[in-house]
Protein backbone atom coordinates (compact mmCIF):
# COMPACT_ATOMS: atom_id res chain seq x y z
CA UNK A 1 0.00 0.00 0.00
CA UNK A 2 2.68 2.47 1.03
CA UNK A 3 4.76 1.42 -1.94
CA UNK A 4 2.00 2.18 -4.40
CA UNK A 5 1.57 5.62 -2.89
CA UNK A 6 5.25 6.30 -3.10
CA UNK A 7 5.36 5.25 -6.74
CA UNK A 8 2.40 7.42 -7.57
CA UNK A 9 3.95 10.35 -5.84
CA UNK A 10 7.17 9.92 -7.72
CA UNK A 11 5.42 9.77 -11.05
CA UNK A 12 3.30 12.85 -10.49
CA UNK A 13 6.22 14.81 -9.13
CA UNK A 14 8.34 14.25 -12.17
CA UNK A 15 5.67 14.59 -14.79
CA UNK A 16 6.30 17.98 -16.33
CA UNK A 17 4.08 17.89 -19.40
CA UNK A 18 1.35 19.74 -17.54
CA UNK A 19 3.84 22.35 -16.45
CA UNK A 20 4.83 23.04 -20.05
CA UNK A 21 1.19 23.38 -21.01
CA UNK A 22 0.63 25.83 -18.19
CA UNK A 23 3.48 27.98 -19.44
CA UNK A 24 2.34 27.94 -23.04
CA UNK A 25 0.04 31.00 -22.97
CA UNK A 26 2.67 33.16 -21.28
CA UNK A 27 5.31 31.95 -23.73
CA UNK A 28 3.11 32.88 -26.67
CA UNK A 29 2.17 36.31 -25.32
CA UNK A 30 5.80 37.07 -24.57
CA UNK A 31 6.88 35.94 -28.02
CA UNK A 32 4.34 38.14 -29.78
CA UNK A 33 4.32 41.28 -27.71
CA UNK A 34 7.84 41.33 -26.29
CA UNK A 35 10.16 39.43 -28.62
CA UNK A 36 8.65 40.24 -32.00
CA UNK A 37 9.06 44.03 -31.59
CA UNK A 38 12.72 43.57 -30.69
CA UNK A 39 13.58 43.57 -34.38
CA UNK A 40 13.18 47.32 -33.96
CA UNK A 41 16.40 47.47 -31.99
CA UNK A 42 18.32 47.61 -35.25
CA UNK A 43 17.03 51.17 -35.34
CA UNK A 44 19.71 52.06 -32.78
CA UNK A 45 22.35 51.22 -35.39
CA UNK A 46 20.63 53.05 -38.21
CA UNK A 47 19.81 56.57 -39.17
CA UNK A 48 16.18 55.61 -39.06
CA UNK A 49 13.73 57.43 -41.29
CA UNK A 50 10.15 56.29 -40.80
CA UNK A 51 9.30 56.64 -44.44
CA UNK A 52 12.20 54.44 -45.47
CA UNK A 53 11.43 51.91 -42.74
CA UNK A 54 13.81 49.40 -41.20
CA UNK A 55 14.86 47.84 -44.44
CA UNK A 56 15.91 50.95 -46.33
CA UNK A 57 17.22 53.20 -43.57
CA UNK A 58 20.95 53.72 -43.64
CA UNK A 59 23.14 51.70 -41.24
CA UNK A 60 25.51 53.85 -39.23
CA UNK A 61 27.03 51.37 -36.77
CA UNK A 62 27.66 52.87 -33.35
CA UNK A 63 27.34 56.47 -34.48
CA UNK A 64 24.14 57.03 -32.51
CA UNK A 65 25.81 55.82 -29.33
CA UNK A 66 28.76 58.09 -29.94
CA UNK A 67 26.34 60.93 -30.46
CA UNK A 68 24.41 60.44 -27.21
CA UNK A 69 27.56 59.97 -25.17
CA UNK A 70 28.98 63.26 -26.40
CA UNK A 71 25.80 65.21 -25.73
CA UNK A 72 26.66 68.00 -23.28
CA UNK A 73 23.85 67.12 -20.87
CA UNK A 74 24.47 63.38 -20.97
CA UNK A 75 26.91 63.18 -18.09
CA UNK A 76 24.85 65.17 -15.60
CA UNK A 77 21.68 63.39 -16.67
CA UNK A 78 23.36 60.03 -16.15
CA UNK A 79 24.63 60.91 -12.68
CA UNK A 80 21.32 62.45 -11.64
CA UNK A 81 19.46 59.38 -12.85
CA UNK A 82 21.58 57.18 -10.61
CA UNK A 83 21.27 59.36 -7.53
CA UNK A 84 17.53 59.87 -7.84
CA UNK A 85 16.80 56.24 -8.69
CA UNK A 86 19.03 54.94 -5.92
CA UNK A 87 17.28 56.88 -3.19
CA UNK A 88 13.87 56.17 -4.66
CA UNK A 89 14.53 52.42 -4.67
CA UNK A 90 15.88 52.32 -1.13
CA UNK A 91 13.23 54.57 0.36
CA UNK A 92 10.33 53.10 -1.54
CA UNK A 93 11.09 49.83 0.25
CA UNK A 94 12.24 51.16 3.58
CA UNK A 95 9.29 53.48 4.17
CA UNK A 96 6.62 50.90 3.31
CA UNK A 97 8.50 48.35 5.42
CA UNK A 98 8.31 50.60 8.46
CA UNK A 99 4.71 51.51 7.69
CA UNK A 100 3.63 47.91 7.34
CA UNK A 101 5.41 46.89 10.54
CA UNK A 102 3.73 49.75 12.37
CA UNK A 103 0.36 48.87 10.86
CA UNK A 104 0.80 45.30 11.94
CA UNK A 105 1.15 46.46 15.55
CA UNK A 106 -2.11 48.40 15.47
CA UNK A 107 -4.73 46.78 17.65
CA UNK A 108 -7.87 48.52 16.47
CA UNK A 109 -8.75 46.91 13.19
CA UNK A 110 -10.89 49.81 11.89
CA UNK A 111 -7.91 52.12 12.28
CA UNK A 112 -5.61 49.66 10.60
CA UNK A 113 -7.98 49.24 7.69
CA UNK A 114 -8.60 52.97 7.25
CA UNK A 115 -4.93 53.87 7.29
CA UNK A 116 -4.21 51.13 4.82
CA UNK A 117 -6.86 52.44 2.48
CA UNK A 118 -5.85 56.05 2.84
CA UNK A 119 -2.12 55.65 2.22
CA UNK A 120 -3.07 54.06 -1.07
CA UNK A 121 -4.93 57.14 -2.30
CA UNK A 122 -2.00 59.16 -3.70
CA UNK A 123 -1.12 56.18 -5.88
CA UNK A 124 -4.29 56.78 -7.89
CA UNK A 125 -3.44 60.35 -8.83
CA UNK A 126 -1.53 61.21 -11.94
CA UNK A 127 1.61 63.31 -11.69
CA UNK A 128 0.06 66.05 -13.75
CA UNK A 129 -2.38 66.68 -10.93
CA UNK A 130 -0.08 66.06 -7.99
CA UNK A 131 2.62 68.30 -9.46
CA UNK A 132 0.27 71.27 -9.37
CA UNK A 133 -0.49 70.66 -5.70
CA UNK A 134 3.14 70.06 -4.75
CA UNK A 135 4.27 73.23 -6.49
CA UNK A 136 1.63 75.13 -4.53
CA UNK A 137 2.71 73.62 -1.22
CA UNK A 138 6.43 74.22 -1.71
CA UNK A 139 6.07 77.67 -3.28
CA UNK A 140 7.92 80.63 -1.83
CA UNK A 141 4.66 81.85 -0.35
CA UNK A 142 3.29 78.32 0.14
CA UNK A 143 2.19 76.37 3.19
CA UNK A 144 5.56 74.86 4.06
CA UNK A 145 7.31 78.22 4.09
CA UNK A 146 4.46 79.67 6.14
CA UNK A 147 4.84 76.98 8.73
CA UNK A 148 8.62 77.30 8.83
CA UNK A 149 8.38 81.05 9.23
CA UNK A 150 5.64 81.15 11.83
CA UNK A 151 6.66 78.19 13.98
CA UNK A 152 10.42 78.07 13.62
CA UNK A 153 11.23 81.61 12.46
CA UNK A 154 13.13 80.37 9.46
CA UNK A 155 13.53 82.68 6.47
CA UNK A 156 11.40 81.48 3.54
CA UNK A 157 13.27 79.18 1.16
CA UNK A 158 12.72 79.17 -2.59
CA UNK A 159 12.48 75.36 -2.64
CA UNK A 160 11.33 75.10 -6.23
CA UNK A 161 14.36 76.81 -7.70
CA UNK A 162 16.87 75.46 -5.20
CA UNK A 163 19.45 72.96 -6.35
CA UNK A 164 19.91 72.09 -2.70
CA UNK A 165 16.36 71.02 -1.92
CA UNK A 166 14.55 70.25 -5.12
CA UNK A 167 16.01 66.79 -5.68
CA UNK A 168 14.92 65.81 -2.18
CA UNK A 169 11.42 67.04 -2.91
CA UNK A 170 11.34 64.94 -6.09
CA UNK A 171 12.46 61.82 -4.25
CA UNK A 172 10.27 62.32 -1.19
CA UNK A 173 7.11 63.03 -3.16
CA UNK A 174 7.66 59.95 -5.30
CA UNK A 175 8.14 57.76 -2.24
CA UNK A 176 5.04 59.29 -0.68
CA UNK A 177 2.95 58.70 -3.80
CA UNK A 178 3.96 55.07 -4.18
CA UNK A 179 4.21 53.94 -0.58
CA UNK A 180 0.70 52.47 -0.44
CA UNK A 181 1.58 49.94 -3.13
CA UNK A 182 4.54 48.29 -1.41
CA UNK A 183 2.89 48.60 1.99
CA UNK A 184 0.10 46.36 0.76
CA UNK A 185 2.53 43.80 -0.65
CA UNK A 186 4.58 43.72 2.51
CA UNK A 187 1.56 43.59 4.76
CA UNK A 188 0.34 40.61 2.77
CA UNK A 189 3.66 38.97 3.44
CA UNK A 190 3.53 39.84 7.13
CA UNK A 191 0.05 38.43 7.63
CA UNK A 192 1.29 35.33 5.92
CA UNK A 193 3.90 34.67 8.60
CA UNK A 194 3.24 31.40 10.38
CA UNK A 195 1.45 32.21 13.65
CA UNK A 196 3.20 29.24 15.29
CA UNK A 197 6.50 31.07 14.97
CA UNK A 198 5.22 33.97 17.06
CA UNK A 199 3.87 31.58 19.60
CA UNK A 200 7.19 29.81 19.86
CA UNK A 201 8.92 33.17 20.28
CA UNK A 202 6.51 34.19 23.00
CA UNK A 203 7.09 30.97 24.81
CA UNK A 204 10.81 31.77 24.67
CA UNK A 205 10.03 35.10 26.35
CA UNK A 206 10.67 37.37 23.36
CA UNK A 207 9.34 40.93 23.64
CA UNK A 208 7.22 42.44 20.88
CA UNK A 209 10.23 44.18 19.46
CA UNK A 210 12.24 40.98 19.53
CA UNK A 211 9.41 39.17 17.79
CA UNK A 212 9.49 41.76 15.01
CA UNK A 213 13.24 41.48 14.76
CA UNK A 214 13.54 37.73 14.89
CA UNK A 215 10.30 36.49 13.43
CA UNK A 216 8.61 39.07 11.22
CA UNK A 217 11.63 40.53 9.47
CA UNK A 218 13.32 37.24 8.55
CA UNK A 219 9.99 35.88 7.31
CA UNK A 220 9.32 38.74 4.95
CA UNK A 221 12.92 39.11 3.86
CA UNK A 222 12.30 37.18 0.62
CA UNK A 223 9.59 39.68 -0.35
CA UNK A 224 11.89 42.59 0.48
CA UNK A 225 14.63 40.99 -1.59
CA UNK A 226 12.30 40.53 -4.52
CA UNK A 227 11.15 44.14 -4.38
CA UNK A 228 14.74 45.36 -4.16
CA UNK A 229 15.99 43.36 -7.09
CA UNK A 230 12.97 44.27 -9.19
CA UNK A 231 13.48 47.90 -8.20
CA UNK A 232 17.10 47.73 -9.33
CA UNK A 233 15.85 46.70 -12.75
CA UNK A 234 14.39 50.15 -12.94
CA UNK A 235 17.54 51.88 -11.70
CA UNK A 236 17.65 54.00 -14.81
CA UNK A 237 13.96 54.86 -14.71
CA UNK A 238 14.16 57.64 -12.20
CA UNK A 239 10.58 58.73 -12.81
CA UNK A 240 10.17 60.45 -16.14
CA UNK A 241 6.57 61.62 -15.88
CA UNK A 242 7.09 63.18 -12.48
CA UNK A 243 10.22 65.06 -13.37
CA UNK A 244 8.85 66.25 -16.69
CA UNK A 245 5.93 67.99 -15.00
CA UNK A 246 7.85 69.25 -11.97
CA UNK A 247 11.25 70.45 -13.09
CA UNK A 248 12.30 73.86 -14.32
CA UNK A 249 15.43 75.33 -15.90
CA UNK A 250 17.03 76.41 -12.63
CA UNK A 251 17.11 72.95 -11.06
CA UNK A 252 18.01 71.10 -14.23
CA UNK A 253 21.56 70.69 -12.96
CA UNK A 254 20.30 68.36 -10.24
CA UNK A 255 17.17 66.70 -11.61
CA UNK A 256 17.59 66.34 -15.36
CA UNK A 257 17.54 62.59 -16.10
CA UNK A 258 18.20 60.38 -19.11
CA UNK A 259 14.52 60.06 -19.93
CA UNK A 260 13.86 63.78 -19.95
CA UNK A 261 16.92 64.12 -22.15
CA UNK A 262 15.55 61.53 -24.57
CA UNK A 263 12.20 63.25 -24.52
CA UNK A 264 13.77 66.52 -25.56
CA UNK A 265 15.68 64.66 -28.27
CA UNK A 266 12.51 63.20 -29.65
CA UNK A 267 10.54 66.43 -29.50
CA UNK A 268 13.38 68.47 -30.91
CA UNK A 269 13.89 66.50 -34.05
CA UNK A 270 12.37 63.03 -34.40
CA UNK A 271 15.63 61.39 -33.48
CA UNK A 272 14.18 57.91 -33.28
CA UNK A 273 17.54 56.24 -33.61
CA UNK A 274 19.25 58.25 -30.89
CA UNK A 275 16.34 57.51 -28.59
CA UNK A 276 16.56 53.79 -29.39
CA UNK A 277 20.30 53.84 -28.72
CA UNK A 278 19.68 55.46 -25.37
CA UNK A 279 17.06 52.80 -24.61
CA UNK A 280 19.48 50.02 -25.44
CA UNK A 281 22.15 51.60 -23.29
CA UNK A 282 19.71 51.79 -20.39
CA UNK A 283 18.78 48.13 -20.88
CA UNK A 284 22.40 47.10 -20.70
CA UNK A 285 23.05 49.05 -17.52
CA UNK A 286 19.89 47.75 -15.81
CA UNK A 287 20.77 44.21 -16.80
CA UNK A 288 24.18 44.57 -15.16
CA UNK A 289 22.63 45.89 -11.97
CA UNK A 290 20.05 43.18 -11.68
CA UNK A 291 22.57 40.51 -12.58
CA UNK A 292 24.99 41.63 -9.89
CA UNK A 293 22.34 41.99 -7.20
CA UNK A 294 20.83 38.63 -8.11
CA UNK A 295 24.22 37.02 -7.85
CA UNK A 296 25.07 38.67 -4.53
CA UNK A 297 21.76 37.60 -3.05
CA UNK A 298 22.24 34.07 -4.31
CA UNK A 299 25.77 33.84 -2.91
CA UNK A 300 24.89 35.38 0.44
CA UNK A 301 21.59 33.75 1.23
CA UNK A 302 21.16 31.11 -1.42
CA UNK A 303 17.93 32.80 -2.44
CA UNK A 304 16.95 33.04 -6.09
CA UNK A 305 14.70 35.91 -6.96
CA UNK A 306 13.89 34.54 -10.39
Amino acid sequence: MADVKKQKKKRSLYKTRELHIMLLPAVIFTAIFAYLPMFGLIMAFQDFKPLLGFTKSEFVGFEQFAYIFTMPSFRSAFVNTFIIAFFKIILSILVPLILSLMLNEVVKSWFKRSVQTIVFIPYFFSWAILAGMLLEIFAYDGIINNVLENLFHIEPIAFLVSNKYFRTIIIASDVWKGMGYNTVLLLAAITNVDAALYEAARVDGASRWEQVLHVTLPSILPMVAVLTVLGLGGILNAGFEQILVMYNPTVEKTVDILDTLVYRLGIAGHQYSAAAAMGLFKSAVSLIFVGVSYWILYKKSDYRVF
Binding site: F29, K112, V115, I121, L230, F306
Partner: protein
Amino acid sequence: MKVKRSVSFYVYQVFNTVVLALVALSCILPILHVFAMSLSSSNAAMAGRVGFVPVEFTFTAYEYLISKKDFFHSVSISLWRVLAGTVLNMVIIAITAYPLSRPTQQFRARTAYMVYFAITMFIGGGLIPTYMVIKNLHLLDSFWVLILPSAMSIWNVIIMMNFIKGLPRAIEEAAFVDGANHWQTLTRVILPMSKPSLASLLLFSMIGHWNAWFDGMFYMNNPNNYPMATYLATQVINNNQSMTNMTPEQLALLSSLSEKTVRSAQMFIAIIPILVVYPFLQKFFVKGITVGSVKE
Protein backbone atom coordinates in the same frame (compact mmCIF):
# COMPACT_ATOMS: atom_id res chain seq x y z
CA MET B 1 8.19 44.33 35.40
CA LYS B 2 4.75 43.68 34.16
CA VAL B 3 3.59 47.28 34.73
CA LYS B 4 6.68 48.74 33.13
CA ARG B 5 6.17 46.70 30.04
CA SER B 6 2.57 47.71 29.62
CA VAL B 7 3.47 51.39 30.02
CA SER B 8 6.05 51.20 27.28
CA PHE B 9 3.57 49.27 25.23
CA TYR B 10 0.99 51.99 25.78
CA VAL B 11 3.44 54.74 24.86
CA TYR B 12 4.43 52.85 21.77
CA GLN B 13 0.81 52.40 20.73
CA VAL B 14 0.15 56.12 21.07
CA PHE B 15 3.27 57.01 19.14
CA ASN B 16 2.38 54.46 16.50
CA THR B 17 -1.13 55.78 16.16
CA VAL B 18 -0.06 59.41 15.93
CA VAL B 19 2.55 58.75 13.26
CA LEU B 20 0.22 56.62 11.20
CA ALA B 21 -2.54 59.19 11.54
CA LEU B 22 -0.21 61.93 10.30
CA VAL B 23 0.88 59.84 7.34
CA ALA B 24 -2.74 59.08 6.55
CA LEU B 25 -3.60 62.75 6.83
CA SER B 26 -0.92 63.69 4.31
CA CYS B 27 -2.51 61.24 1.92
CA ILE B 28 -6.12 62.19 2.38
CA LEU B 29 -5.73 65.96 2.15
CA PRO B 30 -5.11 65.97 -1.61
CA ILE B 31 -8.32 64.10 -2.31
CA LEU B 32 -10.23 66.43 -0.01
CA HIS B 33 -8.73 69.33 -1.92
CA VAL B 34 -9.79 67.83 -5.24
CA PHE B 35 -13.24 67.11 -3.90
CA ALA B 36 -13.65 70.64 -2.54
CA MET B 37 -12.40 72.03 -5.82
CA SER B 38 -14.94 70.05 -7.82
CA LEU B 39 -17.75 71.60 -5.80
CA SER B 40 -16.48 75.18 -5.92
CA SER B 41 -17.13 77.95 -8.40
CA SER B 42 -14.56 78.10 -11.16
CA ASN B 43 -13.47 81.62 -10.29
CA ALA B 44 -12.83 80.65 -6.69
CA ALA B 45 -10.82 77.65 -7.89
CA MET B 46 -8.76 79.76 -10.28
CA ALA B 47 -8.10 82.46 -7.71
CA GLY B 48 -6.74 79.77 -5.38
CA ARG B 49 -9.31 80.41 -2.70
CA VAL B 50 -10.25 76.74 -2.30
CA GLY B 51 -8.67 74.72 0.47
CA PHE B 52 -10.36 71.65 1.86
CA VAL B 53 -13.90 73.03 1.96
CA PRO B 54 -15.90 74.01 -1.14
CA VAL B 55 -16.06 77.77 -1.78
CA GLU B 56 -19.16 79.18 -3.45
CA PHE B 57 -20.71 75.72 -3.48
CA THR B 58 -22.02 74.57 -6.86
CA PHE B 59 -22.72 71.36 -8.77
CA THR B 60 -21.90 72.98 -12.13
CA ALA B 61 -18.88 70.79 -12.79
CA TYR B 62 -20.82 67.58 -12.19
CA GLU B 63 -23.78 68.80 -14.22
CA TYR B 64 -21.43 69.55 -17.08
CA LEU B 65 -19.93 66.08 -16.80
CA ILE B 66 -23.27 64.35 -16.74
CA SER B 67 -24.24 66.21 -19.90
CA LYS B 68 -21.26 64.63 -21.65
CA LYS B 69 -22.01 61.27 -23.09
CA ASP B 70 -18.47 60.43 -24.11
CA PHE B 71 -17.25 60.50 -20.55
CA PHE B 72 -19.65 57.81 -19.44
CA HIS B 73 -19.08 55.85 -22.61
CA SER B 74 -15.37 55.83 -21.83
CA VAL B 75 -16.11 54.74 -18.27
CA SER B 76 -18.03 51.74 -19.58
CA ILE B 77 -15.12 50.78 -21.85
CA SER B 78 -12.81 51.03 -18.86
CA LEU B 79 -15.06 48.82 -16.76
CA TRP B 80 -15.06 46.12 -19.44
CA ARG B 81 -11.35 46.51 -19.79
CA VAL B 82 -10.77 46.06 -16.08
CA LEU B 83 -13.01 43.03 -15.98
CA ALA B 84 -11.61 41.20 -18.98
CA GLY B 85 -8.05 42.37 -18.50
CA THR B 86 -7.89 41.46 -14.85
CA VAL B 87 -9.35 38.00 -15.36
CA LEU B 88 -6.84 37.30 -18.11
CA ASN B 89 -3.97 38.71 -16.03
CA MET B 90 -4.88 36.60 -13.03
CA VAL B 91 -5.26 33.39 -15.02
CA ILE B 92 -1.90 33.92 -16.67
CA ILE B 93 -0.22 34.85 -13.40
CA ALA B 94 -1.52 31.70 -11.72
CA ILE B 95 -0.69 29.23 -14.45
CA THR B 96 2.70 30.81 -15.11
CA ALA B 97 3.87 31.38 -11.56
CA TYR B 98 3.07 27.83 -10.49
CA PRO B 99 5.38 25.98 -12.89
CA LEU B 100 8.11 28.56 -12.34
CA SER B 101 7.90 28.01 -8.60
CA ARG B 102 8.76 24.33 -8.97
CA PRO B 103 12.28 23.43 -7.81
CA THR B 104 14.76 23.08 -10.66
CA GLN B 105 15.43 19.45 -9.87
CA GLN B 106 11.74 18.75 -10.31
CA PHE B 107 11.30 20.86 -13.45
CA ARG B 108 14.53 21.11 -15.38
CA ALA B 109 13.29 23.42 -18.10
CA ARG B 110 12.42 26.03 -15.49
CA THR B 111 15.70 27.93 -15.85
CA ALA B 112 15.31 28.24 -19.61
CA TYR B 113 11.76 29.54 -19.23
CA MET B 114 12.84 31.98 -16.57
CA VAL B 115 15.62 33.40 -18.72
CA TYR B 116 13.21 33.66 -21.63
CA PHE B 117 10.77 35.72 -19.56
CA ALA B 118 13.29 37.72 -17.56
CA ILE B 119 15.01 39.14 -20.64
CA THR B 120 11.86 41.01 -21.53
CA MET B 121 12.03 42.93 -18.28
CA PHE B 122 15.06 44.83 -19.50
CA ILE B 123 14.90 44.90 -23.23
CA GLY B 124 12.00 46.25 -25.19
CA GLY B 125 11.61 46.90 -28.86
CA GLY B 126 10.35 50.42 -28.50
CA LEU B 127 7.20 52.15 -29.56
CA ILE B 128 7.32 52.05 -33.32
CA PRO B 129 8.15 48.35 -33.77
CA THR B 130 5.50 47.41 -31.21
CA TYR B 131 3.03 49.53 -33.11
CA MET B 132 3.89 47.76 -36.35
CA VAL B 133 3.43 44.34 -34.76
CA ILE B 134 0.06 45.34 -33.37
CA LYS B 135 -1.00 46.84 -36.64
CA ASN B 136 -0.09 43.66 -38.50
CA LEU B 137 -2.11 41.62 -36.03
CA HIS B 138 -5.08 43.86 -36.89
CA LEU B 139 -5.45 44.78 -33.27
CA LEU B 140 -5.45 48.54 -33.87
CA ASP B 141 -8.67 50.19 -32.82
CA SER B 142 -9.94 46.98 -31.25
CA PHE B 143 -10.89 46.41 -27.65
CA TRP B 144 -8.34 43.58 -27.40
CA VAL B 145 -5.39 45.89 -27.86
CA LEU B 146 -6.08 47.15 -24.36
CA ILE B 147 -5.83 43.66 -22.93
CA LEU B 148 -3.65 41.27 -24.92
CA PRO B 149 -0.32 43.15 -25.00
CA SER B 150 -0.38 43.53 -21.22
CA ALA B 151 -1.74 40.03 -20.56
CA MET B 152 1.59 38.68 -19.41
CA SER B 153 3.34 40.76 -16.76
CA ILE B 154 6.56 39.13 -15.73
CA TRP B 155 6.86 41.41 -12.68
CA ASN B 156 3.62 40.16 -11.23
CA VAL B 157 4.48 36.58 -12.08
CA ILE B 158 7.75 36.88 -10.18
CA ILE B 159 6.00 38.28 -7.13
CA MET B 160 3.47 35.46 -7.21
CA MET B 161 6.15 32.86 -7.83
CA ASN B 162 8.12 33.99 -4.80
CA PHE B 163 4.99 33.89 -2.73
CA ILE B 164 4.28 30.31 -3.75
CA LYS B 165 7.88 29.39 -3.01
CA GLY B 166 7.34 30.66 0.51
CA LEU B 167 4.36 28.36 1.12
CA PRO B 168 4.98 25.28 3.23
CA ARG B 169 5.84 22.43 0.92
CA ALA B 170 4.26 19.84 3.15
CA ILE B 171 0.73 20.64 2.04
CA GLU B 172 1.32 20.32 -1.68
CA GLU B 173 3.31 17.18 -1.17
CA ALA B 174 0.37 15.79 0.73
CA ALA B 175 -1.78 16.65 -2.27
CA PHE B 176 0.52 14.72 -4.56
CA VAL B 177 0.46 11.84 -2.19
CA ASP B 178 -3.31 11.91 -2.46
CA GLY B 179 -2.94 11.55 -6.21
CA ALA B 180 -3.54 15.11 -7.35
CA ASN B 181 -1.94 16.31 -10.59
CA HIS B 182 -0.42 19.75 -11.14
CA TRP B 183 -3.67 21.39 -12.21
CA GLN B 184 -5.41 20.10 -9.14
CA THR B 185 -2.59 21.07 -6.85
CA LEU B 186 -2.65 24.58 -8.28
CA THR B 187 -6.39 25.13 -8.07
CA ARG B 188 -7.15 23.26 -4.87
CA VAL B 189 -4.06 23.78 -2.77
CA ILE B 190 -1.87 26.61 -3.96
CA LEU B 191 -4.45 29.18 -5.00
CA PRO B 192 -6.59 28.96 -1.85
CA MET B 193 -3.44 29.45 0.21
CA SER B 194 -2.34 32.44 -1.88
CA LYS B 195 -5.31 34.67 -1.24
CA PRO B 196 -3.36 37.64 0.20
CA SER B 197 -0.95 37.64 -2.68
CA LEU B 198 -3.70 37.07 -5.25
CA ALA B 199 -5.72 39.89 -3.74
CA SER B 200 -2.84 42.34 -3.95
CA LEU B 201 -1.98 41.32 -7.50
CA LEU B 202 -5.64 41.54 -8.42
CA LEU B 203 -5.75 45.04 -7.05
CA PHE B 204 -2.63 46.09 -8.94
CA SER B 205 -3.90 44.57 -12.12
CA MET B 206 -7.22 46.37 -11.75
CA ILE B 207 -5.61 49.69 -10.97
CA GLY B 208 -3.20 49.21 -13.82
CA HIS B 209 -6.01 48.65 -16.29
CA TRP B 210 -8.14 51.40 -14.83
CA ASN B 211 -5.37 54.00 -14.98
CA ALA B 212 -3.61 52.99 -18.20
CA TRP B 213 -4.06 55.74 -20.76
CA PHE B 214 -1.20 55.66 -23.21
CA ASP B 215 -2.16 52.44 -25.03
CA GLY B 216 -5.67 53.73 -25.55
CA MET B 217 -4.35 56.92 -27.06
CA PHE B 218 -1.72 55.28 -29.20
CA TYR B 219 -3.50 52.19 -30.49
CA MET B 220 -7.03 53.49 -30.87
CA ASN B 221 -7.78 55.27 -34.11
CA ASN B 222 -11.01 56.75 -32.87
CA PRO B 223 -11.66 58.64 -29.63
CA ASN B 224 -14.98 56.79 -29.34
CA ASN B 225 -12.96 53.76 -28.32
CA TYR B 226 -10.95 55.52 -25.63
CA PRO B 227 -11.06 54.09 -22.13
CA MET B 228 -11.68 56.57 -19.35
CA ALA B 229 -8.05 57.21 -18.40
CA THR B 230 -7.24 58.09 -22.00
CA TYR B 231 -10.29 60.29 -22.21
CA LEU B 232 -9.18 62.15 -19.09
CA ALA B 233 -5.64 62.48 -20.40
CA THR B 234 -6.98 64.18 -23.51
CA GLN B 235 -8.80 66.64 -21.28
CA VAL B 236 -5.74 67.80 -19.40
CA ILE B 237 -4.34 70.18 -21.91
CA ASN B 238 -0.78 71.16 -21.33
CA ASN B 239 0.15 73.51 -24.06
CA ASN B 240 3.91 73.72 -24.07
CA GLN B 241 4.39 74.97 -27.58
CA SER B 242 5.66 78.47 -28.16
CA MET B 243 2.85 80.95 -28.45
CA THR B 244 4.74 83.58 -30.37
CA ASN B 245 2.25 83.56 -33.17
CA MET B 246 -1.10 83.14 -31.54
CA THR B 247 -3.90 82.11 -33.85
CA PRO B 248 -7.55 82.45 -32.86
CA GLU B 249 -7.61 78.70 -32.45
CA GLN B 250 -4.91 78.78 -29.78
CA LEU B 251 -6.65 81.72 -28.16
CA ALA B 252 -9.79 79.69 -27.79
CA LEU B 253 -7.71 76.90 -26.34
CA LEU B 254 -6.45 79.22 -23.63
CA SER B 255 -9.76 79.70 -21.96
CA SER B 256 -10.14 75.95 -21.74
CA LEU B 257 -6.89 75.78 -19.78
CA SER B 258 -8.69 76.81 -16.65
CA GLU B 259 -11.56 74.40 -16.27
CA LYS B 260 -10.05 73.35 -12.99
CA THR B 261 -13.34 72.43 -11.37
CA VAL B 262 -14.41 70.12 -14.18
CA ARG B 263 -11.12 68.31 -14.11
CA SER B 264 -11.37 67.93 -10.36
CA ALA B 265 -14.82 66.43 -10.77
CA GLN B 266 -13.55 64.01 -13.39
CA MET B 267 -10.67 62.99 -11.19
CA PHE B 268 -12.92 62.42 -8.28
CA ILE B 269 -15.35 60.32 -10.29
CA ALA B 270 -12.41 58.35 -11.67
CA ILE B 271 -11.21 57.42 -8.21
CA ILE B 272 -14.58 56.34 -6.82
CA PRO B 273 -14.62 52.80 -8.29
CA ILE B 274 -11.22 52.03 -6.83
CA LEU B 275 -12.19 53.42 -3.46
CA VAL B 276 -15.26 51.21 -3.56
CA VAL B 277 -13.50 48.01 -4.59
CA TYR B 278 -10.45 48.41 -2.43
CA PRO B 279 -11.95 47.76 1.02
CA PHE B 280 -13.42 44.48 -0.22
CA LEU B 281 -10.05 43.24 -1.39
CA GLN B 282 -8.38 44.56 1.69
CA LYS B 283 -10.18 41.98 3.77
CA PHE B 284 -7.93 39.38 2.22
CA PHE B 285 -4.68 41.10 3.05
CA VAL B 286 -5.66 41.74 6.63
CA LYS B 287 -7.09 38.36 7.42
CA GLY B 288 -4.32 36.60 5.66
CA ILE B 289 -4.43 32.87 5.63
CA THR B 290 -4.37 30.33 8.35
CA VAL B 291 -1.32 28.44 7.29
CA GLY B 292 -0.64 27.53 10.88
CA SER B 293 -3.88 25.60 11.09
CA VAL B 294 -2.67 22.88 8.78
CA LYS B 295 -2.42 19.82 10.92
CA GLU B 296 -1.06 16.57 9.82
